[in-house]
């Protein structure tokens, strides 16, 4: 039987292997798609699929080949231009060791493919980082990967000869795949046998080589990960986003019931006791919160048990989680100190203060952890992906749209909703809009936009509005009463899980109506500075 973590690893390996297969497949397909003769709409659909579904690095050429005098070509160029600054920023972020690299990359990938010419600065940035951090072998692997992609896709680029030399210094064996002639001794740090190597294969074999390396890395990853056993709460949260709602609830209970009202509340009393300045009322208050009612260690055990029951055997708070381990010792210390604290023994009071500090540290640690849980940015890329996916469906794909407008603020607001569920909700709303305008005469338009509103509680809600030009009439009540059989039952169920709502509003500015989906905004980590 596979454990949950192993099943997850197998899925990762499966994805990597699928990528390998696609890379091999790419060897024989080349870029003939862009040269074929189907209508431009079909070529554009294929080009989008090449990137958004297959993540083929050659997709950039296919996108770029769409005639810019057509609406599809203009859309392709606009998306490529929108993505390019993000891709350019990547190299700078890698060079600076900026932790937002992954976020930038994911954002760019969701918009459009990368200009292959940009693989080179990225490769060089990773090479520079690899020199600074020789202990991190991943950096070299990344550098080699991007050099290979650059040379595979832009073999005639003016910088290609320099790139080959640089790759040769990093990975002489792999670099030979990208040389059109045998290496000369002065060009690369390669073993003498290099000049006797067989004729250089063409680039698809280089890609195949990369695929094999990826598959090997996947197997190593599986072996390493399968040996790992129990995890800390942070590790579990990173690996199992589907547990985030449960983690947030459990952490919230622990913090509110125990860490705020029993531990946090006695901070001033502990200080006063340490200074020998506590009044009798303050001593009584401290005794009541720490030693009265349900014993502190039993309450603590109750919370830990709830974590372990709800989150499964992979979680080991006492052994694998340093913050909980220290807090566990602190709780037991406090419980054992009861008679000596009541007698106000000086050393016992000092130990109580230290234990209290450990528990306050756990509270801060948990606050930080909870703020890192599921957050999905509602950005233009997400809305575009939703529209693309719906337009890729048979029925919606047959509707000729005259306009698709998408507007989203930067930086994008985030919501505490799994991306897959947010996409499900939005796809249903967008699909209904497209099918509805498909029943009408042209011009057929849909528009998506995002805005935020401040509530009286200081919270914010994110409004995702889908407008269309269909004259079909229905109301919010029709949606909730499920009088419409268009997958909206799924939508309302998903909204219920995430404190979301949906409403039908009048259109404006030439739109007939708007369906507005609303979720509470998750405040970003950047906003999390606290009042001193």
């Amino acid at each position: 039987m596979l454990k949950g973590s192993q099943r997850s690893d197998m899925r990762h390996v499966g994805r990597l292997c699928a990528l390998c297969v696609l890379l091999f497949a790419g060897c024989s397909e080349g870029s003939s798609e862009a040269d074929a003769g189907p209508p431009v709409a079909e070529r554009w659909a294929r080009a989008r699929a090449l990137w958004h579904i297959r993540r083929d690095p050659g997709a950039w050429a296919a996108w770029h080949a769409i005639d810019p005098d057509t609406p599809e070509g203009r859309e392709a160029r606009a998306l490529l231009e929108e993505a390019e600054p993000h891709y350019r920023r990547l190299a700078a972020q890698v060079a600076d060791g900026d932790p937002r690299v992954r976020e930038t990359f994911e954002r760019a990938v969701r918009i459009a493919p990368m200009d292959p010419a940009l693989y080179l600065p990225l490769a060089r940035a990773y090479r520079t980082q690899a020199r600074t951090h020789p202990e991190n072998s991943v950096l070299v692997i990344r550098a080699v990967e991007y050099y290979r992609k650059f040379l595979a896709l832009r073999p005639d680029h003016p910088e290609a000869p320099a790139a080959r030399r640089e790759l040769a210094r990093l990975d002489p064996e792999a670099s030979r795949l990208f040389f059109e002639r045998p290496l000369e001794a002065t060009e690369a740090v390669a073993p003498p046998a290099a000049s006797a190597s067989p004729p250089a294969p063409t680039w698809p074999f280089g890609v195949a080589f990369a695929a094999l390396a990826l598959a090997g890395a996947a197997v190593v990853l599986l072996v390493i990960r399968s040996r790992r056993r129990a995890e800390s709460l942070g590790e579990l949260a990173s690996r199992r986003p589907e547990l985030h709602p449960a983690i947030a609830y459990l952490v919230g209970s622990l913090r509110h019931e125990l860490l705020k009202h029993r531990i946090g509340a006695v901070g001033d009393a502990v200080d006063a006791l340490g200074r020998g300045a506590a009044s009798e009322e303050q001593r009584a208050f401290l005794r009541g919160r720490l030693f009265g009612g349900e014993p502190l260690d039993r309450a603590w055990e109750g919370h830990l048990g709830a974590f372990e029951r709800a989150l499964g055997p992979e979680l080991d708070l006492r052994r694998r989680d340093p913050a909980f381990r220290r807090a566990d010792r602190a709780i037991r210390r406090i419980a054992s100190l009861a008679p000596r604290v009541e007698a106000e023994e000086r050393r016992a009071v000092a130990r109580l203060a230290r234990a209290h500090g450990e528990l306050r540290a756990l509270d801060r640690h948990l606050a930080k952890l909870v703020r890192r849980l599921v957050r999905t940015p509602v950005d233009g890329a997400l809305l575009r992906a939703v529209v693309d996916e719906v337009r890729g469906e048979y029925a919606a794909g047959r509707v000729a749209l005259d306009e698709v407008s998408i507007r989203a603020p930067e930086p994008a607001p985030r919501v505490e909703v799994f991306r897959v569920d947010l996409v499900l909700v939005l796809k249903n709303v967008v699909r209904n809009a497209i099918l509805a305008v498909g029943q009408e005469a042209p011009p057929r338009r849909i528009g998506l936009d995002v805005s935020t509103e401040v509530e009286l509680t200081g919270e914010e809600t994110v409004r995702i509005r889908v407008r269309d030009t269909s004259t079909e009439r229905f109301t919010t009540e029709d949606i909730y009463a499920r009088r419409m059989d268009r997958g909206l039952g799924l939508v309302t169920a998903a909204l219920g899980r995430y404190d979301g709502a949906i409403a039908v509003e009048p259109g404006d500015d030439g739109w007939e109506k708007a369906v507005v989906v609303r979720f509470f905004r998750a405040f970003d980590d950047d906003d999390e500075a606290r009042e001193a």
Binding site: E281, R360, G458, D499, G500, I502, D527, E531
Partner: protein
Amino acid sequence: MERLLVIEDGDEYEEFARLFLADRYEVVPARSATEALAAMETPGADAMLIDLRFERADEADLLGDADEMAARLFAGDRARAARWLKEQQGTLILGALRDAGHAQPAVFVHDFPARRLANLRALYGRVGAVPSFDAQAIVRALERLA
């Protein structure tokens, strides 16, 4: 001595304030929006310490329309909307006090995200927050807002 209006649904804040803030403030308790509004008239107060969550309060005593909130924010789930009104009641009471013209400094014991605190300040003026029960931090926050 200045008066501190302590607004909560239980007695934990009041107990804390009487023990650790009594040298600075005379504590005036209130258990609901109605009591808070009345206390601000007589005897009045110079500052407010407000609990955010009123989980033990009866729904009838809460500010806010659960039906309206259910339709607008919670996909028609009235029970969830009522729970939300309890969870956020302190901010709604502060709003009612501001509407009644009481602009005194107000502090919550809650670790609000900075952006949310900024929103509360934009809505209600002199608002502060401290992440945990800490008498000195509460006094400092109130002094900064005075």
